[in-house]
Symmetry: C3
Subunit: 305 residues, 3 copies
């Protein structure tokens, strides 16, 4: 049974629940101080991590998940690779695949690359989307949902606010789809310039340009990362202005009991105030830990016989 993780869109709610459930045992090991128990799940299997975008944390999370399941791994940071010698993406992937790769984990700045790989590679090769353009980032949405379920129980009817740069965010998009499948109510809040364009898909999603009292009744709020390195004042007047209108400030959170989440890396005192990031309602590091567990669960699910 060969399975892929191309996006949340391709998963049923049963599959989502199955993967989250599988992650529970791994999560317990991750919280323990004992040695991680040996696993044979990926013994003799090779996972290739193709990172066309730099990402220390996501790459490390995948690598540790793979190694702890016993995989042989090859990580290719593709900025300095054959691609720079003019080779096409599919030629590169075909070459690496010829070395017997059982699973590709791919991150790419262009939307749709994992689906392109699925079309071209043999059925026996599994594919995990580790983030493609502004399209999907399914393991992030799965780890977010697993974290939310742990804190809130069933997500049916729960109020989840996602705030910030929705327009460019694959995290927002995967979360919107997943949370919709599990019955949560999603509110997007962003500057008008960073509001979503994929309106046709956002059934059931509420879109706002101001926070108002959204946080008061929210069960959880996810702040998205402002890509400082990409945005030079073109989408909002200044970081100070962004914080004033869309930041999770201490003031704004004081009457709220919401959980605070962020996919990282956090720009402190832009998206989230220092103090807010470190309260016990902040479950940002919890998300990271769950991330390794989810990636192990996805691999286990994919390689199930």
């Amino acid at each position: 049974m060969n399975r892929d993780l191309l996006g949340i869109r391709q998963l049923s709610s049963d599959q989502i629940t199955d993967i989250i459930r599988r992650s529970d045992g791994y999560f317990l090991h991750l919280k323990s101080n004992d040695p991680f128990p040996e696993s044979q799940i990926l013994t003799g299997r090779t996972v290739a991590n193709l990172f066309f975008e730099n990402s220390t944390r996501t790459r490390t999370s995948f690598e540790l998940a793979e190694k702890r399941l016993g995989a042989t791994i090859a990580t290719l940071s593709m900025q300095s690779s054959s691609v720079s010698k003019g080779e096409s993406l599919m030629d590169t992937v075909n070459v690496i695949n010829s070395m017997k790769i059982d699973c590709f984990v791919i991150r790419h700045s262009s939307s749709g690359v994992p689906i392109l790989l699925r079309k071209h590679l043999p059925d026996s090769v599994r594919i995990i989307n580790a983030g493609d353009g502004a399209h999907e980032h399914p393991t992030q949405a799965l780890l977010d949902a697993a974290t939310l379920i742990e804190k809130l129980g069933s997500l049916k009817g729960k109020k989840i606010v996602i705030i910030g740069d929705i327009l460019h965010s694959r995290v927002a998009r995967s979360n919107m789809i997943l949370l919709g499948k599990l019955g949560a109510h999603v509110t997007f809040i962003s500057p008008p310039t960073l509001a979503p364009k994929f309106a046709e898909e956002i059934f059931g999603v509420e879109i706002r340009n101001d926070i108002g009292d959204s946080l008061k009744n929210a069960d959880a709020v996810m702040a998205l990362r402002i890509q400082l390195e990409r945005q030079s004042g073109s989408y909002f007047p200044s970081l100070t202005d962004f914080r004033a209108r869309y930041g999770l400030t201490t003031l704004r959170l004081q009457d709220s009991n919401t959980y605070i989440m962020h996919p990282g890396p956090v720009n402190r005192n832009v998206e989230i105030d220092d103090q807010a990031a470190d309260t016990e309602k902040s479950i940002i590091l919890h998300q990271v830990k769950r991330g390794v567990a989810i990636r192990m669960a996805v691999l286990e699910w994919m390689f199930e016989k």
Copy 2:
């Protein structure tokens, strides 16, 4: 019994045949979808990959070969290393070797570096040349020969055409020597500016500056890579002109039954037309797969007791 792979020149035809034969079993595993069987051949052994030239594909091929044989590996991309702090090559190698290295895999832009290492390092340390300047690239020639034998049987009297930048090509040079030892007939085709200078060694090699009807009777043709990043019109008028005169174009191949090979990465529509690269006579990915098998076979052969 400590063996090295410094170049094809140092191998007898029996040794070549022995290594190719050993690669057959690994190649079968590489074609299978089953987990790769565990191997103890390099258990407790450390292989250091010293890459003074960038090469994602060759480095990954070696690393996977080593890991699948159970080795502990250390890969050092030496552009960002102590070398840039002014340490001499041999000091760097001596330092790494003091950490107990059983085998060095070395790629370097200067011809002769693996031989230099052989002179300086203790006998107990094995050395594999992973490409040195314009000198040799023995694992490439071995994988090419293994691929050819699989397709053509004995190479005695077979007609192999090598086309492109012969002058700078260690691939051409190692192939010439190997194919000569196995009795094949080699034709070099290149612009006059890129013709070989090592004429004293090319006994039995035919040198031409035009393709003419060479492809008609060829059993296999290897297109070499044009180093786009190095050549700015100094060796031929333009890429369009190169393709017109030396490219494996669809037109040129239409009356031929030759196998098409390339050491990669391919510049599509320069050395090989898109359509030609993807026909069933193109065995470029086959070469890549055989490459991992050959590297495992070389390591097995080196560490044989």
Copy 3:
């Protein structure tokens, strides 16, 4: 029993002797040509190597030590990481730690970073200082001491000369503290501009600005590395001048029977003449080999139950 290696300062002389003694068995294996015996000491344990400063040799030494003890490892070269995206050091460390890290090995250009980590991370996480600013480099001092003990026996009353850029050297500082604890007599020799500023700590250390006859009676001399890439004539007139006044020249060593050491990478014919670096009294590569053994011993000591 959770132990850290933040600096030599925190170790008792008994602990120092214990770690050095533990390294002896590993050192024997490192000198042998046999496969390295398998170890379960770090099975199921994850070691994260956080290198905020580039260091091929130290990083490789740690990685091989960890792998040979059976650890799962994650190496993060932090120049190209989230840090460049503006994330704070402690946020980065907290994120990586959430992936279940049993031990951090950290190198950083700022003094005190390992101590900062110790304050913030849970007790269950071990920390090894792999060099912090001009502060400490404890594994280097331990490997130096182990090498000296092997050559000289007890260090009580032995005369050790350390020469060169004392001011910026964490190696000098850790050695001074360690050698003091084991009862050796330390002499620092440097240009006045590169003399130590931590005078309050150098009890028992003799400070000189000229070599004089220091080498005649020295049991060992350690030359420190001149940071060519950082110093442009601001601390001494020229490299030629430095060599003339502070270099371990052949002439200067000819009446001495001292052992010659260097933490590497060596600038040949600056700190040490070519000929002197390669005599049998030069034990520079011996230091490197002992370095892997010491790092294995430190890990064994840390993870002792």
